[in-house]
Symmetry: C2
Subunit: 223 residues, 2 copies
DNA sequence: GTCTATATCTTGATAGAC
DNA sequence: GTCTATCAAGATATAGAC
């Protein structure tokens, strides 16, 4: 893990206190993403956080609790990124300095611009935060049933947000798809799977991926 | 696991002999897909195959060897499905009864029809064989470096197959994409991720998913 | 809050009888 | 080829000193 990657990971958890608890979450997220939840030991996590094996249980009830916190915070962060992008793109008038032609001629929400912004932000989040995203997307079945139920609520909100954007676009005559639920599935799937294949040293930056996917999704939606 | 699912899983491994070795692979694939490689014990596998814990080591060198066989055979099967679909769609003249207008007027390979057939087959394979596919796609980092290298060869062939289909379509003026590698990434990603979200009792059958995705991909490629 | 030491259990894999 | 029995290592989590 490079220093830059570590910074990014750490920034995601900047609200967590005390520092020892935060260091543990950061270490756990990196280990769970790299080797998987079950392949990671509490000793690994403690060692990476610079503490003894027993120190884990000062701040967390169990190894699974550590996973749940990462999953809960990660799901919330990705939902925030998605809704923020969709909202700010829908109301360009609220950003005074951005006096583009579009904001002057079209103060109404533009479904295509909103979708492009949402997909770009959501896809690039899964690249930029691929460590957290992998835990979020691929360790769901290691959660207890109660904890799983809690993150499913957040996942449904993410899905609903995308589905409504598509349905709005269809209603406005901007998108042309017969199966809005199917398109929702595909859009989300495309963005989420970025967490699987993205590699930091690769050909494309997170921003590149966001731009590429925004374009491909608008084509898929028949704009 | 329903009886139908078990049949499908078993058919994938019908070449494996003796029967005890096959039962073990089937049990391992189901367990690895359901709980993950590291969460599965050799005792789980043996019990599901109706044998003692020690019986695993009669037919396989280690737990990882079991994973490797599943991964190798699964990768090969998905590559075969992809190339078969692309090949048979490219030469409709070889299927005499299918006297469609397209095959009469255009004996040349049709990039769009070929891509549609390939995506439909590859995506629906990941649904139909989601158990195997999950092991193939999500347990790569549990393989030894040597075994990992071996499946990477197969993965590259899958990627090359799709990239060439897209490049051929662009050259023929049928597809309109600026970034062929980016489009390849997205097409493969979309199909592979089916293994993650697909559920047998869900709204869409594997065939439905194949048809939906073939359509969405052709739109993405600007036909 | 953090440590050392350890209890308790489960794991992958092997030995040797049949 | 398959079993029973078992080893040696490593797992999560806790106890109790500081």
């Amino acid at each position: 893990m490079t220093a830059h990657e570590f910074d990014l990971l750490d920034r995601t958890w900047s609200d967590i206190t005390p520092p020892a608890a935060r260091r543990m979450l950061v270490a756990a997220a990196a280990a769970f993403a790299g080797r998987g939840y079950h392949a990671t030991t509490t000793r690994d996590i403690a060692a990476q956080a610079g503490m003894s094996p027993a120190a884990v249980y000062i701040h967390y009830r169990s190894k699974e609790d550590l996973l749940f916190q990462i999953s809960r915070i990660g799901h919330t962060a990705s939902l925030d990124v998605l809704t923020s992008a969709a909202t700010s793109a829908a109301t360009p008038a609220t950003t005074p300095a951005a006096g583009s032609a579009a904001s002057l001629t079209s103060p109404e929400p533009d479904p295509a611009a909103r979708m492009a912004a949402a997909v770009s932000a959501f896809a690039s989040w899964h690249a930029e935060h691929h460590t957290t995203a992998r835990v979020v997307q691929y360790e769901l079945n290691a959660l207890t049933p109660e904890h799983f139920a809690e993150v499913v609520v957040l996942r449904r909100r993410i899905e609903d947000t995308v589905r409504r954007m598509i349905e709005d676009g269809v209603a406005a005559g901007v998108f042309h798809v017969l199966d809005a639920r199917g398109a929702t599935l595909a859009v989300l799937s495309l963005c989420i799977d970025v967490a699987r294949w993205y590699q930091p040293g690769g050909r494309r930056s997170p921003a590149d991926i966001g731009a590429l996917y925004a374009d491909l999704v608008l084509r898929m939606l028949g704009t």
